[in-house]
């Protein structure tokens, strides 16, 4: 089918969905590939940001403000998760001098 540049250039709802899908996939890739616990937490933050983008994009294209309010609650959860997650990571680092998750198997009970 002929590629009409018009729909690629003019920004519509599709563009925001594709951008957030790409960001979400990069976040998932980060979680799967990286060994460092802190970078895994960062990739989760990236995935949550991609979700925020979808919320705001649909909030604009449906002219309904609820999407933007959802972004606040996602932000709160992400911030609380990052805060407690990093506190745990620091406690582990101090105890085992190690942040590489592959060596966490020896966390005996």
């Amino acid at each position: 089918m002929a590629v009409d540049f018009n729909s690629i250039i003019h920004v519509g709802l599709n563009h925001y969905l594709i951008l957030s899908a790409v960001l979400f996939s990069i976040g998932v890739l980060g979680v799967l590939m990286r060994r460092n616990a802190i970078v895994i937490l960062m990739s989760i933050e990236l995935m949550l940001n991609a979700v925020n983008l979808v919320f705001v994009a649909f909030s604009k294209y449906n002219q309904n403000i609820d999407g933007q309010i959802m972004v606040f609650f996602v932000m709160t959860i992400a911030a609380a998760e990052a805060a407690v997650g990093l506190a745990i990571a620091v406690a582990i680092y101090k105890r085992f001098k190690e942040v590489n998750i592959s060596r966490f198997e020896n966390l005996k009970g």
Binding site: A79, A80, A82, L86, A87, V90
Partner: protein
């Protein structure tokens, strides 16, 4: 929307241009000297550094940052509330009670942090 964002982007370009030009200017104009060993050492008033770069870190720095995040969320919820507070007072005390409960719970958290002397700097 575009009138508000365009000046910010133009200013970013101007500032980055200014930084790059001034750094490259010093790079070109400055005298080129062979870096001697003494100069390269981290500056410690002349006494050679003892242990390597890792410092014995204290808990307090990142605990302050964590508490900052959690109280920053409270500030972000306070901003929109402040805008509509006086207007919605006419519909009764609901908007007042709502925020007082929110503030009470978080002030309780702050008092807990204070009493658990997480804020005392050793």
């Amino acid at each position: 929307m575009i009138q508000q964002l365009a000046p910010v982007l133009v200013l970013i370009v101007v500032v980055v241009g200014f930084v790059v030009v001034s750094l490259s200017l010093t790079f070109l104009a400055g005298p080129k000297r062979k870096p001697t060993a003494q100069k390269q050492m981290p500056y410690e008033c002349g006494i050679p550094g003892i242990d390597n770069q890792t410092t014995k870190f204290s808990v307090k720095f990142y605990l302050t940052a964590i508490l900052f995040i959690l109280f920053d969320i409270e500030v972000i919820f306070l901003y929109p509330w402040a805008l509509i507070y006086t207007d919605f007072l006419n519909y009764g005390p609901f908007i007042f009670v709502e925020m007082m409960v929110f503030m009470a719970i978080l002030t309780f958290g702050f008092i807990y942090v204070w009493k658990a002397n997480a804020l005392d700097w050793d």
